[in-house]
Symmetry: C2
Subunit: 202 residues, 2 copies
Amino acid sequence: MGTEQTTEEKILAAAEEVFLQSGFDGARMQEIANKAEINKAMLHYYFRSKDLLFERIFEEKARYFFPEVNEIFAQENSFEQKIHSFIEKYIHFINQHPYIPIFIITTINRKGQEVFIDKLPLKASLAQNLFTSYFKDFQEGKVAEINPLQLALSVIGMCVFPYLGRPILNHVFKIQGDEFFELMEARIQEVQLYVSKILKVD
Amino acid sequence: MGTEQTTEEKILAAAEEVFLQSGFDGARMQEIANKAEINKAMLHYYFRSKDLLFERIFEEKARYFFPEVNEIFAQENSFEQKIHSFIEKYIHFINQHPYIPIFIITTINRKGQEVFIDKLPLKASLAQNLFTSYFKDFQEGKVAEINPLQLALSVIGMCVFPYLGRPILNHVFKIQGDEFFELMEARIQEVQLYVSKILKVD
DNA sequence: TTTTGGTTTAACCATTTGGTTAATGCTATG
DNA sequence: CATAGCATTAACCAAATGGTTAAACCAAAA
């Protein structure tokens, strides 16, 4: 198997692993070098500093926190359908990258580093699309009256919180191995059900 | 005003501030000493090491992440009423301690430090109470059929996520100052409404 | 073969960091 | 007043850490 990986690729892979697991403050350049099986000086040769290497990794991973949701809201579906699609795609996606949420959340909450928020791929159009889509369906009497911002916060919270509180969840419910991901897989339908009930007109 | 504070109290106050804002890895003993306006050696005189000082702070704050919810579930209310009480009390409480969630979440997700989960005041009875309370009302036909574990995860996620994603929220919706807390205050009713709809029998 | 240019390494460096020590200060008790 | 004992401080220490440097390596071009 062609395990040919350039030095740069080896560094990026190792840096990703270490930064995702330990965050900026907890990460050590030496650990990255060891994991990449290269000399520590190479890290600076290729990326100059810890800050720059971290930025590189963050920018690469930030896209994953809010993956292609724009296309979901660009479709010609009902508001409810759009939320349902989001839930399914989002949980499926994060299941493949379960450490992204805690990495992003800790980074953007790091004091003095609010800079990183600007690096998140947050399009103003997203919130706009959400609101217009909701009000369209609301005026047609297809959804109940709720606050779309609060609903969005709720949906994201319901999807993402389990990944953040995973150690607690594992501990309290003695979850182990793939059981967590099965729980999240089952969660898709459950959260979709909740949203349907929330949006149902009386 | 009697500002008489023992050295130990000054240290604890400063340590709390620094650890909550920076986490264990990002915190510096010197910064704590400066903030407490004492000599760095005093930190070790009173608490021996950074680890022990951190543990002390964590144990003190951990109780705040799951405040007195046991009493809520011990009451003679309906399941729905209990969830409603939880939402109100929880958001009110965290509004007074908005940095607790990110502090707890980052700490328990720190690699090699899963020890801290044991320090969380998680009573097995809590989950137990939740389930029995749900099934009682379910058998009486008072609530719809849902998965109580998934609902619990959802309620906690809806309550706590905004505090974790607050920098994003502030950024996207140009929220500033107390507006965030007003949003959370309004959120109580909204989330309660969602739960009512979720639990409503058809 | 020689040279040229990027790549890699070992050794090194300055600073930071958690932690220690020995001396000093201070207060209460005999 | 003396002194015993805790509180406090300045100075110090060893290890860790991000970063640098100069020499060595190595493949491709001349």
